[in-house]
Symmetry: C2
């Protein structure tokens, strides 16, 4: 079954493509559809609104994913604005805000919104961990070099795609979508 993924982020697409291929989904990257993102506290709302807007333009089954890093000592910052904060402050800015801070707990959240008429679904997953003292690793993207998932010693950026996909918030949310597609027996014919 073919499904569009509205994202301009090549890394994100590559992660998602691999996960969904396990469910027989052929994911196609769609970079040309502008997503209208609302400002809001909830990634689920942001992703669903963006997916609806994209669907109005495309008219084909698609998903949109939005993710955020929520840092406890910073009251959840950068949260839903992680992408903007990454572009302006980067990993260094986050580490600066956490200097001399002992509470390093954080989580990544991912919301995957799927518009597959007549269905509209959002799948949300989190991965808990801590913020590293220094950026480490060359893999992944965004804040991956400073996030160490619980039970691990390495950051997401020190892992390969397959390994990150065993643990990550995004892979978990995408697997929820995969299971849902499977349970609904949604096949190419319906798409």
């Amino acid at each position: 079954m073919k499904l569009y993924f509205a994202t301009s982020n090549r890394h994100k697409y590559e992660e998602a493509r691999r996960v969904l291929s396990e469910y027989g989904v052929e994911l196609v990257q769609l970079t040309s559809v502008p997503k209208l993102e609302i400002q809001g506290e909830s990634l689920a709302d942001i992703a669903l609104n963006a997916a609806r807007t994209a669907y109005l333009r495309l008219g084909e089954p698609l998903i949109v994913e939005d993710a955020g890093l929520y840092i406890e000592a910073l009251k959840g910052f950068p949260g839903p604005y992680s992408s903007y904060v990454y572009k302006t402050l980067g990993c260094r800015g986050i580490l600066r805000l956490l200097e001399d801070e002992e509470r390093r707990e954080a989580y990544f959240e991912s919301a995957v919104a799927a518009i597959i008429p007549p269905y509209e679904e959002v799948f949300v997953a989190r991965v808990h961990g801590v913020i590293a003292a220094e950026p480490r690793g060359e893999g992944g993207f965004g804040f991956d070099p400073i996030f160490i998932p619980r039970g691990e010693a390495r950051t997401f950026a020190e892992m390969g795609v397959e390994e990150k996909n065993r643990l990550s918030h995004r892979a978990r949310a995408l697997r929820m979508l995969g299971e849902w597609l499977r349970s609904r027996k949604i096949k190419r014919a319906q798409l």
Copy 2:
């Protein structure tokens, strides 16, 4: 003439009420209409979208104002997300990000969107200045304690409302609205 101002910020309303009273506008605070804010780079777009959404609910002439603090050394951060960043990081977070930074230039921008059928207008104004070394003053709100407008030695928070209104981005944008109303001779009858 009566005009609604969709904002839950009492300080913002008070500043705006005073400015617009000079133009014969009776400004009424409207706290109950939810504003749908988009994520975007431009405050003008954010304010206009929010005003349209509010107008669909209210059906009466109204304004929405959105403001942001743009810091040069931080690539414009916090910009359109200033309100969220104020709630999470506060003035202290901004100062921390600027530790040992000599470039202190910043500007406040305000976008006032007015829906006064059949008109839809957005007025944008800026005030340039620098980020203070420490928060100072008890007046104003938000990042006012760390912003020193150009040509002044005091922060916005060290000024009274009248004085801040002589200089501020918001007062300037509101005066543009006031002049526009005057030039169009928009009176109560039309509202």
